[in-house]
């Protein structure tokens, strides 16, 4: 199976007043064509930075990026910005976390959707508007014609996220980055949006990278899961296999921290004690060691390598749950 997107040894760091902040520390990621890959981790684990760095959206003098990103046979990290831009919209597109800020407040929905169509596909104004209405219908918005003339502040959060999706899929991208697409929405709308994304993916044959902190979301909507912690990939496996047989204590801790309805009420919320290590001063050893219930001396002295069991399941742990290879 060929990969649509393949990221190799990607490092991203930011020059901050407190020192070099290493947000992503050598990540390898493959997105095979037609699949949906989930990136999971808690806040600050580097998942958003990873997706933005993959598209080359991080700008500024204080950003340092090394490693290679190959998309659709082209090595983006070696291309000049103008040619990378040619891939945007038609090759890859992104949905953002907060639909409240990701739409321009002073422009009508219609002109915001048709913008991409006109710039990237060279459609005329009338054609772009017609296509925009079709896209709005595609993301299940009632009365697409009326919606074209509205301003973002007249829409609810769920509707805005649908508009964001319509903008992102406007030019038929091959790969869609969804950066926490449902975090800013309430739970019932979350389910609808995720369902919509899965349906669109099937209809349009898109691949998707779904960035989220929610293992429940990943379970239902991805084929492969990558768990990130402190800028490192700590476990990677096909979704079913991961949930059946997790190897990394961090993944297990994430699982356990999901509140469950069948727990007695009034008890303490399950959580992972401690917090993420300081990204400006990484310590030797496994980054999860200070919080890990199974920690041994070896964990504190050297970082475990990412090992694979030869069956698509790889993990970064000296003492994998259920025994090693």
């Amino acid at each position: 199976m060929t990969s649509l997107l393949s990221i190799h040894d990607l490092h991203v760091s930011f020059d901050t007043p407190r020192g070099l902040l290493q947000a992503v520390r050598g990540v390898d990621l493959e997105v095979p064509a037609g699949t949906s890959v989930g990136i999971v981790g808690e806040s600050g684990s580097g998942k958003t930075v990873l997706s933005r760095a993959a598209m080359g959206l991080l700008q500024g003098k204080n950003v340092q990026r090394t490693g290679t990103v190959v998309f659709d046979g082209k090595e983006l990290t070696a291309l000049p910005p103008d040619e990378v831009r040619n891939e945007f919209g038609t090759g890859m597109a992104m949905i953002f976390q907060d639909p409240m800020t990701a739409l321009n407040p002073v422009r009508r929905i219609g002109s915001q959707i048709s913008e991409g169509l006109r710039v990237r596909l060279g459609l005329s104004r009338a054609d772009a508007m017609k296509r925009s209405a079709e896209l709005l219908a595609l993301v299940r918005i009632p009365d697409p014609q009326g919606m074209l003339r509205k301003f973002p502040n007249q829409l609810s959060g769920g509707m805005r996220q649908r508009v964001m999706i319509a903008i992102a899929i406007a030019c038929n991208p091959k790969l869609l980055f969804a950066d926490e697409p449902t975090t800013a929405l309430d739970v019932t709308v979350q389910a609808q949006i995720l369902e919509l994304l899965s349906e669109l993916r099937a209809e349009l044959g898109m691949s998707m990278v779904l960035v989220t902190h929610d293992l429940g979301v990943v379970a239902n909507h991805t084929d492969i899961v990558t768990v990130m912690y402190a800028g490192l990939v700590v476990e990677q496996a096909p979704t079913r296999r991961l949930f059946a047989n997790m190897k990394m204590p961090y993944t297990e801790a994430l699982m356990k921290s999901i509140p469950r309805l069948d727990q007695p009420s009034g008890g303490r919320m399950p959580m992972i004690a401690g917090r993420l290590p300081d990204p400006t001063a990484p310590e030797p050893g496994c980054p999860f060691a200070p919080r890990c219930p199974y920690v041994v001396d070896k964990c504190r002295s050297s970082v475990p390598p990412l090992v694979s069991d030869g069956d698509g399941h790889s993990y970064r742990c000296w003492l994998p749950l259920g025994g090693g290879i």
Partner: protein
């Protein structure tokens, strides 16, 4: 638009009305059948308001105040609109670009803006006029047109950092919004992002401050004339004030007329600017 008009309160309506009259007079004023503003009526020097043939009276030299204030509208408004228009355009272009690009260019632009802003408007205007409008030969006076032109340029330079800094500040907040990143992720170029995403959001604050700046410029033109470096031989509100300043004791009404016109126009500009901003801000919406 109709809804916006319905929301106008009485004071804003009066202000907008006053501004329309002023602009109308600036355009057609000199063609209206009033007394020649340069013609002195020796029969009626310094007569009060509502005298026969002189509705607003005359100054102590017998010049009709009504026709002077109407003719003066043209130059005063021309100077205000052109310097704010040109200065605002240049200033906001520089401000938006520097905030969008950041880096060294932004550092230098901010530095220059701050230096210009630290000099009081009037002192800066005075210095520029003094430098630009002095002829090499002291016996040959600077022509009236050149003076107007120099004042225009000076006031434009005064306006550039005022609106430039407003545009820069507004751009800084909008450039960090996610829709700019979203536009970039769709493959839009910087030029398109600035024109379609930044400018429409920055415009409301520029409008509001632009109207305030019109008031500032009208006052500055008056003050420059009062100090004797403004338009000395043309007819503007400022030059009227300058001309009658010495006769305040004998014919105070000759001072009241141009000062009232000036004050009302400045107040109206501020009010209309405020109203425009509040209207344009509403689209941001609050949930």
């Amino acid at each position: 638009m109709r809804k916006a008009l319905a929301r106008l309160d009485l004071f804003t309506k009066v202000c907008a009305g006053w501004l329309s009259i002023v602009v109308l007079l600036a355009i057609v004023g000199p063609y209206l059948p009033f007394t020649d503003p340069r013609e002195s009526d020796i029969e009626a020097m310094g007569v009060g308001m509502f005298s026969k043939g002189h509705f607003l009276g005359t100054d102590s030299n017998g010049y009709d105040l009504l026709s002077n204030v109407i003719t003066g509208t043209r130059l005063s408004i021309l100077i205000a609109v052109v310097s704010v228009g040109v200065g605002g355009l240049i200033g906001s272009a520089i401000g938006i670009l520097s905030a969008y690009r950041r880096g060294k260019f932004d550092y230098i632009v901010s530095l220059v803006f701050n230096i210009l802003l630290s000099i009081p408007n009037l002192v800066l205007g005075l210095a520029l006029v003094a430098i630009l409008a002095t002829s090499a030969d002291p016996n040959e006076p600077v022509s009236s047109n050149r003076r107007v032109f120099v004042i225009l340029i000076s006031l434009t330079i005064v306006i550039i950092p005022i609106l430039g800094r407003i545009a820069r500040g507004a751009t800084l907040t909008w450039t960090n919004r996610e829709f700019v990143t979203a536009a970039r992720s769709m493959g839009m170029r910087d030029r398109e992002i600035i024109m379609k995403h930044i400018v429409p959001n920055v415009l409301p604050s520029i409008y509001a401050v632009g109207f305030l700046a019109v008031g500032v410029v009208i006052v500055a033109e008056g003050s420059l004339s009062l100090l004797g470096v403004g338009i000395t031989d043309g007819i503007s509100w400022g030059s009227m004030i300058a001309r009658v300043a010495g006769e305040f004791t004998y014919a105070p009404h000759s001072m009241y007329v141009p000062v009232t016109a000036l004050a009302l126009t400045v107040i109206a500009c501020n009010q209309v600017g405020d109203f425009l901003r509040s209207q344009l801000d509403k689209r941001e919406g609050k949930i």
